[in-house]
Symmetry: C2
């Protein structure tokens, strides 16, 4: 049986240390409860800046921090690095992969979302998405290797396929990846190669809907496309991707060449959504998110909270979006609610309401679009929006140390590109390595004795 | 056929961008030659600080830098990321895995060394060594996961195996790894865990010879052992490792428990040594290094240079050690020699002579041993030696940007541990995951529907 605190105080188990889970833990720090945070990883990831790790502006250590360190001062909280494999919602147990069992009085589920390839999971290997530090490192590896491969092909054959990068999905992640790839190719890499011109790189966004940044007001959508075009990024809307293969993407029947394809199209709730829904005997929505009531509980279970991306919460007839702000607010709400429930004052709490401050997406290194709702209403684009983005993200980065470091590196990047992080780590094999083998290569094999 | 510069100027191909290769490239920058640097990786690694990446003090980006950026201003130099698969030493070609062929007038080989498990290659998976950024990340992952695993075991069963870390090999790398593990366990991790006490971690160095730091003077060897003991690191000499398995190491017939085993015992020359030796019809030494003459040429080939760890060079009857200093000096010598050979003045150059300035190894975060030969003779140990180590390593770190950043992080580490880099990246599976499965675990599998 699990050894957990004194066993007398109410026990709260939080699964997932993203924005929702961490904010709940912080809110519970002063309450008379024992808290256990379970996560598969040892670190919290500041996801809004992941694309900057992917595009070699920041290092993983700048935007990720061990969960233990974040919660070190919370003496009522322990952290377990493990996977949840089951729930017993009658006995109120969480079962971990290691075999340990955690008893809970309150359960907070906040494991977020993962990529969805709309049933074409075989595309994942060819077109990685961006959710974790590992994803970011993999995308960086592929983008940088694409240039290395072209340089080698030019050296060997005198030509190389066009440096076309294809981003599937025109939401904020797609737009941010596209702008950044265009920037590093045109601004930073031009002096590094002798045979190819990295400035010829073309970035194309393929969006299935009629809109780039569909969640933004129409004028910002237009501005975003203008700013993307100014960076040399092309956008195609109503573009239905029917196949993704190494080297190309099919849009309907049309073949679009691609040296590197990235996925920013679909997300689905973490598999834990289905697992808890089964245990509770309730339904999930189409994305696998758990439908929650006004107080963030799944129907009939006031001892369970589902937060952030994993929750389907409707407000004014619209689903609250799966971004950081609502997750953070939900975490704080859940912690406060547990305090009130323990005092028997649960019915005094107002329903949860998402306080929408706005949205932002950067476009390259000095433009952005910002839909601002608070502290005033405005739709900004361009440099002013970018400055706003910068301020907000520096402010919200967890941990003073990281904040300073990221600011320093950003400042540095604008003066001179920071080389240290443009590292290819992991396999040095290029995706097209085999296709490179020429007939000459056949002769090479045994020539070492020549 | 390879497209390489104008095809008129003499062509120099450098294989390997470590200390030797890079110094050769820098020396060749002003000569009327075209230089091609080939490396499997896109970055140069400052190996003397690798152990600090392994133990989560520095980030990979702090000690590694893209080769292209380092050589960006050398307009006569190109960089190819590729593997060498063969030599034609008659036609003077280097054959690359991609199929490209590089013609050379001068060939510089400096691919360094790799781990040697003395024929027990199956140990490599259980006890990784430290030569690359990937190795460092893997070691970091294992050390940090060992603590996470213990925390989970304690939670589940109320006990955990002792936190014994075993380092095989008592040279500088073994000593530096051991001191750092002891430091992070006792100084930085104590507040992070609720169930285990990371301060109980024990680090043991197993050395086959009678000496810790065998290459150092006897008084420094003794001081090193004293300083290691003061950190809680135990050392065993004349300890012959006969088997390495998950969870333990066999020393003769004695079983030594280990939650994490690291390899710092043997090195051998990179496989390229054997390849070039075959092509030239010459012998290598037992470690696979190419025996070179007074001018760093393999016998009978004044157009080929072998540098650093890949070379077997004897001076005053002793082989020059495989560390950074001789490699750098050899790189500079080879570049100068090519300049003289082109002017027909090769016979005017004195034989290469390694100018030994000394050696240093740190022991934890504020002690070291230093054998100083230049600018004065001294054997230092303790804090003074550590300050010397600090100054020298900051000074030699390639790239001003990295130097500043590393200094900042070191300063920061001594005030407050930098959390950001204590990340477990890659697989979150623990090495002992399966052995953890308890009988309870069998029941868990299908309980998700409970």
């Amino acid at each position: 049986m699990a050894e957990q605190g004194t066993g007398r105080r109410p026990r709260v188990v939080i699964v997932g240390a993203g924005f929702g889970g961490l904010n709940a833990a912080v809110g519970l720090a002063k309450l008379p409860v024992d808290v256990t945070v379970v996560d598969l990883k040892n670190h919290h990831t500041f996801q809004p800046l992941l694309y900057q790790v992917a595009l070699a502006v920041l290092s993983p250590g700048d935007i990720a921090q061990p969960i233990r360190s974040i919660l070190r001062e919370n003496t009522n909280t322990e952290v377990i690095m493990d996977a949840v494999v089951g729930f017993d919602t009658v006995e109120r147990h969480v079962k971990l992969k290691s075999g340990a069992v955690l008893i809970y009085d309150y359960l907070i589920l906040a494991t977020g979302s993962t990529h969805s390839y709309f049933g074409k999971d075989e595309w994942a290997k060819i077109a990685p998405g961006l959710k974790t530090i590992e994803d970011a490192t993999e995308i960086r590896r592929r983008v940088l290797l694409a240039f290395e491969l072209a340089e080698r092909q030019k050296l060997e054959t005198g030509a190389h396929p066009p440096l076309n990068f294809v981003i599937v999905g025109g939401g904020p992640t797609g737009v941010e990846l596209a702008g950044s790839i265009s920037d590093i190719a045109k601004l930073y890499m031009t002096k590094d190669f002798r045979h190819i011109d990295p400035g010829t790189a073309q970035v194309l966004i393929l969006e299935g809907s009629p809109y780039i940044l569909g969640a933004y007001p129409e004028d910002l959508q237009k501005k975003a496309v203008e700013q993307l075009n100014a960076l040399g990024v092309r956008t195609r809307t109503n573009a239905h991707v029917t196949d993704i293969q190494p080297g190309y993407v099919m849009v309907g029947d049309e073949r679009v060449e691609s040296v590197c394809t990235l996925w920013a199209a679909g997300v689905q709730a973490s598999p834990l959504g289905k697992l808890i829904a089964q245990s509770l005997g309730i339904e999930t929505d189409r994305r696998g998110s758990v439908i929650v009531d006004d107080h963030l509980h799944p129907a009939g279970h006031p001892e369970v909270f589902v937060l952030g991306d994993l929750a389907h919460f409707e407000q004014d007839g619209k689903q609250v979006p799966g971004v950081a702000q609502p997750a953070m607010q939900m975490g704080t709400y859940a912690a406060k609610r547990i305090g009130l429930l323990l005092e028997g004052k649960g019915d005094k709490q107002k329903p949860f309401r998402y306080f929408d401050k706005g949205d932002m997406a950067t476009i390259g290194r000095k433009a952005a679009v910002a839909r601002i709702v608070w502290p005033f209403h405005a739709n900004w684009s361009g440099f002013m929006a970018w400055l706003t983005w910068l301020t907000v993200h520096i402010f919200f980065l967890i941990g003073f140390r990281n904040r300073l470091s990221v600011f320093r590196q950003w400042a540095y990047t604008y003066v001179r590109f920071r080389d240290g992080v443009r590292l290819i780590i992991g396999s040095q094999e290029l995706p097209g390595w085999d296709s490179l083998a020429s007939s000459e290569n056949q002769v090479t094999k045994d020539d070492s004795k020549a």
